[in-house]
């Protein structure tokens, strides 16, 4: 049978219209925010000028401000952000990737052994066979930890990549960065977003305290019937 091509995914008209509308709202909101920030900055400058009794006072205040910025810059440089960006963050990501690999290897080794037990079990009957079946089932269930752990670690790696981008932005702001942060998977959310997209639905695994139980999910599904 010839291979069937997957159907191309297209957004419904309504969704496109909504996205456009959201974009307009976002652009308008950005202009308002910029205007608001400009008004606030003008007020601050006016306050400084008013509080300065003379031109000399004004220069003294501006000098203080310049020294404050320089000190902040020195402190940031002392933190060695290049080292954080170029060494620590990639190293942490690599270590986490190695953990995922190691747990996968261990899980496969456990299952190799369990499958051998199952093969041997095929020749047994009665209570002993049932006991072994229960034990092997429990081992397979326990092995699902690798999937959950892997997903959680992948989220941590994505967070580290976000931090890397922000550190790079900080370096660029102080004129010492190369502006070549690795691209992150996490994208900033658009302002004025209303609809739930497929990307909004990729958040698992949830924390133990907030995750729904199977019973709660069953009840939710049943409510559709």
């Amino acid at each position: 049978m010839p291979a069937r091509k997957p159907v191309a995914k297209s957004k419904p008209k309504g969704a496109r219209k909504s996205a456009k509308a959201r974009s307009k709202v976002g652009a308008s909101g950005g202009k308002h925010k910029a205007a608001s920030r400009a008004r606030k900055a003008a007020k601050v400058v006016a306050k400084v000028i008013k509080s300065a009794h003379s031109e000399a006072d004004l220069f003294a205040e501006l000098g203080k401000l310049a020294r404050y910025i320089q000190d902040a810059r020195k402190e940031i440089v002392a933190l060695q952000p290049h080292e954080v960006k170029d060494k620590f963050l990639p190293s942490a990501s690599d270590e986490l990737d190695a953990i995922v690999g190691a747990t996968a290897d261990a899980t496969n080794a456990i299952m190799d052994a369990t499958e051998i037990i199952e093969d041997v079990m095929g020749g047994l009957k009665g209570k002993r066979a049932d006991q072994l079946m229960e034990a092997t089932t429990a081992i397979y269930e326990a092995c699902t930890f690798q999937d959950i752990t892997g997903q959680r670690i992948t989220r941590v790696v994505a967070t580290l990549q976000d931090i890397e981008t922000k550190v790079d932005g900080l370096l660029s702001a102080f004129g010492t960065g190369n502006g070549k942060a690795r691209k992150t998977r996490a994208k900033p959310k658009k302002p004025g977003k209303i609809e739930i997209t497929d990307a909004d639905l990729l958040n698992g695994p949830q924390d133990a305290g907030t995750a729904s139980t199977q019973a709660e999910i069953d009840a939710l599904l049943a409510s559709f019937d």
């Binding site: 049978m1 997957p6 199952e118 999937d147 729904s212």
Partner: protein, 128 residues
């Protein structure tokens, strides 16, 4: 009607270990004809090659997610009635609602146990 235990079952997950766990648990439930795919695109390819009686899919996969696969299956005239069970760590109610609206047959949250898997398959396929 009795469940055909020789039916082809497709399991879809981007974690090889999870595919192996599912295959072994299904084998213990006497489903021996199990095929694998590591994302939605590959799953559609496999589904086009032979007849299947059940799909068990993860949600969070790249490039095509489980929910996108489910929508494609339900939009396909030949596959739209195929039982489709989602097994995922996505446990938020909006995920369950989105899956139900897309036509999911049942929904299992990870981590799961063999008893839950069996009960959901009985719910979808009938007693076996």
């Amino acid at each position: 009607m009795a469940v055909d235990m020789n039916m082809n079952v497709l399991i879809v997950d981007d974690y090889k270990t999870m595919l192996r766990i599912l295959r072994n648990l299904l084998k213990q439930l006497n489903f021996n004809n199990v095929d694998e795919a590591t994302d939605g695109t590959m799953a559609m390819e496999v589904l086009s090659q032979k007849d299947f009686g059940l799909v068990i899919s993860d949600w969070n996969m790249e490039p095509m997610t489980g929910i996108q696969l489910l929508r494609l299956v339900r939009a396909d005239d030949k596959l739209k009635h195929l039982p489709f069970v989602m097994i995922t760590a996505e446990s938020k109610s909006e995920n369950v609602i989105a899956a139900k609206e897309a036509g999911v047959s049942n929904y299992i949250v990870k981590p799961f146990n063999a008893a839950t898997l069996r009960s959901k398959l009985v719910s979808v396929l009938g007693e076996f």
